[in-house]
Symmetry: C2
Subunit: 321 residues, 2 copies
Amino acid sequence: MNVTIIGGGGFIGQKVARKLAEQGSLRGQPIDSLTLADIAAPAPVDGPFPVETTACDITDRASVDALISADTDVIFHFAAVVSSHAEAEFETGMKVNLDGTLNVLERCRALGTCPVVVFTSSLAIFGGEVPDPITDHTIPNPQTSYGMQKAVGELLLNDYSRRGFVDGRGFRLPTISVRPGKPNRAASSFMSSIIREPLNGQEAICPVDESQEHFYLSPRRCVENLIKGAELDAAALGQQRCMTLPGQRLSIRQMIDALTAVAGPEPAKLIKWEDQPEIATIVRGWRYDYRFDKALALGLVADNGFEENVRFYMEDDLPNA
Amino acid sequence: MNVTIIGGGGFIGQKVARKLAEQGSLRGQPIDSLTLADIAAPAPVDGPFPVETTACDITDRASVDALISADTDVIFHFAAVVSSHAEAEFETGMKVNLDGTLNVLERCRALGTCPVVVFTSSLAIFGGEVPDPITDHTIPNPQTSYGMQKAVGELLLNDYSRRGFVDGRGFRLPTISVRPGKPNRAASSFMSSIIREPLNGQEAICPVDESQEHFYLSPRRCVENLIKGAELDAAALGQQRCMTLPGQRLSIRQMIDALTAVAGPEPAKLIKWEDQPEIATIVRGWRYDYRFDKALALGLVADNGFEENVRFYMEDDLPNA
């Protein structure tokens, strides 16, 4: 069992790698090798099997061809430029998110080995003119180029799977919280910051009203779902290989109450409320009423209350913060 | 007003060209020129304005660049390889239906002139794991590569429109009947043959049960809808530029009754019933319960009973048959 993670330098890629190292097997077979690829060679992880790290430019077909071989059994394809980047630089988004995904799929087709491909899609495929709730049967009407490119990726993954070129599985990630690391420029950044920074004894700014709702999943459950996703029986996936991962619809107030329940009253005092109309406007435009029946039926899971998300951060990431 | 029809040699392209020649104007402005492009230079049409015919290979970006100029105001993009062809030759389908559409959109983006682009999509984008009825809010889960490529085209058209690169409009065509010309190898071919051939005094074979339902639109209304589609105000289209064209859900029996009502009892006697399990299996797998609320709200129309479809064929195409 040879596994390759494209986007292996990102925080989800790194966590999947560490989880695979911990369990040592995948799809019922021992892992013989793990390759972590990213635009720059990622940090290695310690494992009971050889771990190779390598640079791969997925916009370059030759680079992808060198990465994926006939021995590759499972590919986690997480590489993408994010929403704000793909919106600011249209051509970069098309090259990485669309051509890059096509390069991965075309390499697999050329090999003829039908590897398992786990693709991370996004709730950004949804939006626009569709009614709530947003289900696995709702048409993607993305309002960002990133969302369009992910929606195209889903269609490609499905058709390449139908034709037997890959054994694909696509999962639309909820907003991941509590995300480790530093705040970034994403409009959703505060959705981790308001929990993470107080747990690290630092102030954080909440730019929206406490009643604002959104749709969340912890990194730990996300990683478990992606690995479980790789292990699902192809027949169980049916004609639609892509689905929304389970998540929890929560208000900011519910998240902060969970923080207090787990960590006591002090951290929440470090949250400063500051109107940031630009961010509030973006976030209010996001949808949060999602259904995820297919993933549930396949045994994928959400967190059980946001207190879990807080605890998972304290157990998995706070020691390294 | 300079108009270009890509796929101008096809029967819909030719009919749109003749209709434009008849009305002489589009979007409230006189037409100054019409260019008909196809893989081989199409038959010209007579018009009150200059009509140019030219060969264009949409898989070749330079060929597309030569076709579309800064003076091009409206592009009808009908070029595609059909379902059975794209299924038999995966690479050809990807090149023509996906890369070809991207070449058209990328040429427009490079020009920066935001032309109107009318794109013909297909109900083949639908299928798989979705419940009936299939509405404008139903996720595409295509079961052919052709359907996948058309669904990708819709996503691209929407995003290129959202970003102001084109002013796109996409229309999913019902099965067109009564289609002029000869039978072809499409599984749906009999859906025109059983009406057309008897009107021409020839036998036709019906390979499915008379209770089989499907979803139909006449060529005349299709062409009117596509031209109306080009004339719609961009603001009225909202965030979703693609929609299912209105059609009628009819059984084979209803179609034959309409044939008899219009043309008397003799033609229907030329229909031979012959079990063709291969075709029947394909056709039974097709969906026919469609909604088309968005197109109706925008003033696009279905035929008013299949008797219209029969009459339109007799008026528009039988004289040339």
